[in-house]
Amino acid sequence: MGLETHFNFMKKALDAAQIALDELEVPIGCIFVYKNKIIAQGSNKTNATSCGINHAEMEAIDEIIAKYPNYKEILPFADLYVTVEPCIMCASALRQLGIRRVFFGCANDRFGGNGSVLTIHSDKLNNKLDSSIYPVYPGIYAKEAVTLLRKFYLNQNEKSPNPQTKKLRQLDMENFPRLQFEKYLTKEQFVDMYGESQLDVYVGESDEIVLQRPTKIPKI
C-alpha cells in the first residue's frame, strides 16, 4: 500500500469530521478499512446524544458489529483512520477488539491514549507476549484535522455571550503544533511507513508528512 492510499483514506476521515462540524459536534471523524475497502464511517455524536462516550470510533465500531456477525475475524485485519488521536477509552476499545493498525492526523493532548497521555496501544503487562498491541501512525493531514477543530471552537466563541478578543476570532492557518513523533512510534516504525525521505519530520526538523517530498535541486 503506497502512501497515497493512506492519504486518500484519511481524506475520507476528514469528510466524516466535516459532517460532525456541520452537526455542531466536536469535529472528529473516522473510517475503518478492511481489504482496501471502507467498511464503516463514524463522526462524533456526543452533543446530539448527551452522552460523553459517543466518539467517532465508537459509532463506527457499532456499525461494524451490527453489520458483521463475524466482526471478531475482521477487525484484526482492519485499519482505523481517524482525524484526531484516539482517546484513552477508544484506544483501549481498539486494543480489546484487536485492531491491526491506527492512523491518526493530529495529537489529542488532553485525552490521547496512543501516546499523548497514555500508551494504551503498546503497553505490555509484565513484558508478556501480547498480540493485542497495535502500531499507530500519526501525522497524515494533521493540519487539516487541527483546522477543523479550530473552526469548531471559533464558532463556539462567536456564539458565546462573552466572545473573546478579536485575535481569537480569526482562524489561524499559520501556526500548527508539531507532532513529537517519538511519543507515538519508533523510528523504525516511522521509516517503514513513511519512508527514509521523511525522517526530518520524525526528528522535528520539518513540519509535516507530505505525499510528495519536493525533490531537492542539486547545487551546481
Binding site: S50, C51, I53, Q96
Partner: protein
Amino acid sequence: MKESPHKIDFKDGIFDNCLQKLIKDGIGQENMNMQEVWVMEINPKDSSKVNGMLRELKNFHLLPFLKKFQKRTVESETGNSTVLDVLIGETSKLQSEEEVNALLKVDGKLRRVNVPSNYPPTKELCTEWSKIWPIVWKGNPIVQELNSIRLDIQEISENLRKISELSVSPPLKDELPIFTMVADRKGKVLTIKQDERKNHQLHHSTMLAIRDVAKLQQNDPKSYLLLDCVIYTTHEPCPMCCMALLHSRIERLVFLKDMTTGGLKFHEGYGYGIQTACTLNWKFDAYRWCGDEIPVGIVDDLAYA
C-alpha cells in the same frame, strides 16, 4: 478543618477498615533515611553574611524542608554562650574540609553530621526527627485530603451488597457476572446493568450503564452527563470503561474486586490510574472495598471488566 469522623489509616488510605482510596503518592515513608552533610559552627552575628554566601553556592542542593540554622548552647569555663550551626550541604558534593573552606570564606568549625533526607509523613514524626536537625513542618497534603473526605459507609456497603447479590446469581446466565450501578447525588439508584458482551464485545456493564443514564436524562435540561454520580461496580473496570466514566464526569467509583487489566490502580497491573490521568479536565476518586467479604461472580482475571 474539622476532624474526620472516620477512622483513617493514612498509610494505606483506608477508611473505617473497609474502603481503600487508591492513591498515587502515599503519605511518604515513615522510615527516616539519613544523609551526611557539612555543618559549620559560627558566631550568631555572622548569620546574615553566611546566609548570603550560602545562596551563592550553587554546588549544593539543600533539602528544602531542613532549616538552615540551628542555635546551640556551648558551655565553657567563662560561662555559657550561644553558637549557630549552619547547614552547608551534602558531603557527597564536596568531600574535603579544604574544598568547603575555600568556597565559604568564613571562619567556623566544620563537622560532618547525619540529617534526615526524606520529609516526615506526620507531625509527630516531624517532631521526632527534628531532634536530629530541625525540620519545617508544612503539613501533609495527602493527610489533609483524606481528612476532608466524608463517606456514607452504610449506604456504600448496602449498594455493594445489592450488586454482589446480582453478580453471584446473575439474571443473564450466559453473560459475565459483572454489574455496575449508578446512583445520583442524593443516592437515588439510576440504573444497574449487567455485562452483555456476547453479541457486542464492548458492551461492558459500565458502558451500558452510562448509555442508559444518558437515555433516561435525555429530556432533562438540568442534568449533565453523569455529573455528581457515584458508581458501584463488582469488578475493577477496564481502561475503556474508566475513561468513559472520566468523560462522563462522575464523582466517585467504588469497586469490589481487583482486575489485572483494570484501569484504576496506580501501583499494580498497568498502573494507569485513569481517574487522575487527565487532571486538567476532570478526575474522580476510586475506592476498593476491603471490609468484610462481599462476594462477586467469577470472571477470568485477565478479562477486561
